[in-house]
Subunit: 176 residues, 2 copies
DNA sequence: GGGTGATGGTTGATTTTTCAACTAAACGCC
DNA sequence: GGCGTTTAGTTGAAAAATCAACCATCACCC
């Protein structure tokens, strides 16, 4: 197995790292490789299956759905753009565009933030709320069918804990 | 906790499902909810952190990198478009466009498939190979730093197994 | 109270992705 | 051997995401 054609991230035959680095790269073991690939592949396929479910009958995009969910959890179904962007791990620009579209559809509204004249609040409209309600059952069913019910409970729990750690780390890497 | 404002996928107060369904939707428990959120959030942040790493110093996009990796594992660094699309969970159209771009950059080449005049093979060029080599160390380092080394080994192993199951299920859902 | 830098958000151009329509070759089958 | 169907891949237009500037307000602090 060692002499396969140089694998994904397997030790490349020639080329040394560009510069500076002391070549202290540790490649992944076979097992790690497998797990990493499984994660990658599984996530890609899961997301696209879920997307497909949203196309077929759920009246909002997966992304829009998540945005509505975030808002739905706020006391007044209201969240500042920046908080929303952070919560959803979206760029500010992307959020601006997304909210533009959703606003046009009447799902959310922009309102000024009381204390800060720079700020903009994003508020879910009744329309948006209704749509969320409508979308929720099929969405949850899909998540169950494609993820939750596929795993046994402990597995799923571990997955959750693991990804929570990953989230923390990634967050640190980005803004740290 | 039950009487929070209707949660993400928590039991909505009003609206019944659109039609037909016998309302047999099972909502997620608190724990499941947490795990699902963690997965979603963790994945989003992980991917964007990895993307960012690719921007900063790695000379190919994450997507392009994965494509090159797939090719690198084939005997002749060659794979049919359809196989590549399946392997990467990409739409055919998206693959066509992506390969267009990469071909312009000289990273891959299109060649006819010997036995089947409909088919198109995608072959990694030496250029592409060199680039992959160059990119690999930093890529692997990032994956380690952001994922592999963040988890303890058993956790990571479980993650791998779990997502492999998920991948199978999603695949079944899509083409089954 | 007037700079200076950070924060919040938007804009518009560029690049990617998606979507639906389309061509061409292969397959099956009678 | 001819006809419908499926498979492979491309195309181009429309939608969405990214990127780099940009404007305004705020916060600090001297």
């Amino acid at each position: 197995m060692v002499t396969k054609s140089p694998r994904p991230a397997g030790a490349p035959a020639g080329a040394a790292p560009t510069a500076g680095q002391a070549l202290a790269v540790e490649w992944l073991t076979e097992d790690q490789q497998r797990a990493w690939r499984a994660y990658l592949d599984g996530t890609a396929r899961f997301v696209s299956a879920l997307d497909r479910a949203h196309d077929a009958g759920i009246p909002v995009t997966l992304g829009e759905y998540h945005l509505l969910v975030q808002l739905s959890e706020q006391p007044d179904r209201t969240l500042r753009m920046s908080a929303l962007a952070d919560g959803l791990a979206l760029s500010r620009s992307r959020l601006t565009h997304t909210v533009d579209r959703m606003e046009r559809r009447g799902l959310v509204e922009r309102r000024p933030v009381p204390g800060d004249r720079r700020g903009v609040n994003c508020v879910m409209t009744d329309e948006g709320w209704k749509l969320l309600q409508q979308a929720a059952p099929a969405h949850v069913a899909a998540v169950r069918r494609l993820l939750v019910d596929v795993l046994d409970p402990e597995e799923f729990a571990v997955l959750g804990r693991a990804m929570a750690k990953v989230a923390r780390e990634a967050k640190a890497a980005v803004d740290g």
